[in-house]
Amino acid sequence: MAPDVRTKNDATDQESSRPEARPELSRQISGLDALELGGETRRNPAARAWSAVWPMASAVAIALLAWQVVVWSGWKPSYVLPGPADTLPELGRQVTTGSFWGAVGLTMQRAVLGFAVSVLVGTVVGALVTQSSVLRRAVGSLITGLQTMPSIAWFPLAILLFQLSEQAILFVVVLGAAPSIANGLIAGVDYTPPILLRAGKVMGLRGLNLYRHLVLPASLPSFVAGLKQGWAFAWRSLMAGELLVVISSHTSLGVLLSQAREFSQTDAMISYMIVILVIGIVMDRLFGLVDDAIRTRWGLAGD
């Protein structure tokens, strides 16, 4: 008796999973979708902010402690190496003065201008190289060579060409940053997944449309990585430049730094170094945010 009933049930199950039974198929498919997507969990923003802040805060605390320990050890007299207790108040005093912000403003202005020109040059060069195999053979390695060349080595030539001027600094900043940006773009275009290119071709994307809708968006992560590295090189070149190319009445962070050294104001000197470091970190975080946004959008984020 019982087996008969079961056979009957099986038969109806079979019936219902057939394509004709549209509502049934819809239900099964959406059921499977729901199971596969699983529950999305979202942590609360406070917990997320805390998890981002505490490692950084700890690292800063450990660095300050290490610095203080060195000072306590009496390795150098305090006028050569002041401790955090002397330096941080000096830093606090500096950031309340107008002349300090004027110097930071000038330095940032140079950095932004230099970076903007680098982006322009790097993108144009990178785009040209991806388009021509001859050009790639000609300058492909040169770009990487330039990237590894310490930018300070350019300054003697830059000073001969442009004297002690804004142009000399700009010249070296662009030479430092543009190769990284060009390489980022080149790598992005080179590593466009072939399967996506195939899909694009099936769609009928050709020429400019292929670039606009496929190759450029696909190279975005690599391009942003290039921008980030380019910024780092621009910032380093700029600091070297500001120490070497001192233009009278143009007070920049670099000028403040070398003045502090000349007047043996070590606490001020270290304050400026901290400022330079902090600006570097802030900019890196900005690029990091853009990078994270892209990774989240693309589903590359680890979390």
């Binding site: 057939r18 499977l32 979708d33 596969e36 769609m203 809708h213 496929l214 693309w298």
Partner: protein
Amino acid sequence: MTQAVQAAASRTVPSGAAVRLDGVSKAFGPLLALDDVSLTVGPGEFVCLLGASGCGKSTLLNLVAALDRPSAGTIDTAGRRVALMFQEPALFPWLTVTANIELALKARGVPRAERRGRAAELLALVHLAGFERKRPHQLSGGMRQRVALARALALTIDAEPAGKDRAGTLLLMDEPFGALDAMTRDLLHDEIERIWRERNLSVLFVTHNVREAVRLGDRVVLLSSRPGRVVEEFPVPLDRPRRIDSPEVAALAGTITDRLREEVGRHGA
């Protein structure tokens, strides 16, 4: 002109082919990938192409999709829209689901105002209404493959509004369910069968899964490997809908598997 005549003929005369390959060969340098392949897919027919590794299945689809040219022979799709779907979804990760489909519609020349609506229609067709704003990585493998199917179908839509008959559409599928788990694959078999009927598509479906071929195909074409040649064609006289685990499917799959193994064995030591 000839194309138009042929296309018109194919809609009225059942024997007109959706695609006809005649003595097609393809060589990559010294390597012969396809050798004298002749094959026809009738309008509204579901043909499964079956073969072991190295039978040039993907090469064949590339040729039909006009991504590559044959070294010899002719391929006649009579001006049909050809859409191709891969084993990987190959969706653009930076676009939302709907934007992926809208881009295909744009490439097809569908006016901007119509794209959103057409994309929604296609997503509803593959049971993905409500997922328009998601990005590909937020979906499961099976869902992504359905988006890829919707995108492939988007390429078969005519730019001109309304009234065009879709018998002219040829859908090429390159092991589309190969990377999916059995449960999902099973449901997608039902899905593709339904869509094939609803849209009156002609399908050339490449697989190395014999049961899948018998489950779906009106006809199973067996290819040899290195070079790819048509070894034998098996009509599938089973009524639809079929189940992949039914004894009838298993029996025919067994026969074809024996033939396939024989073919593979020829390459042994």
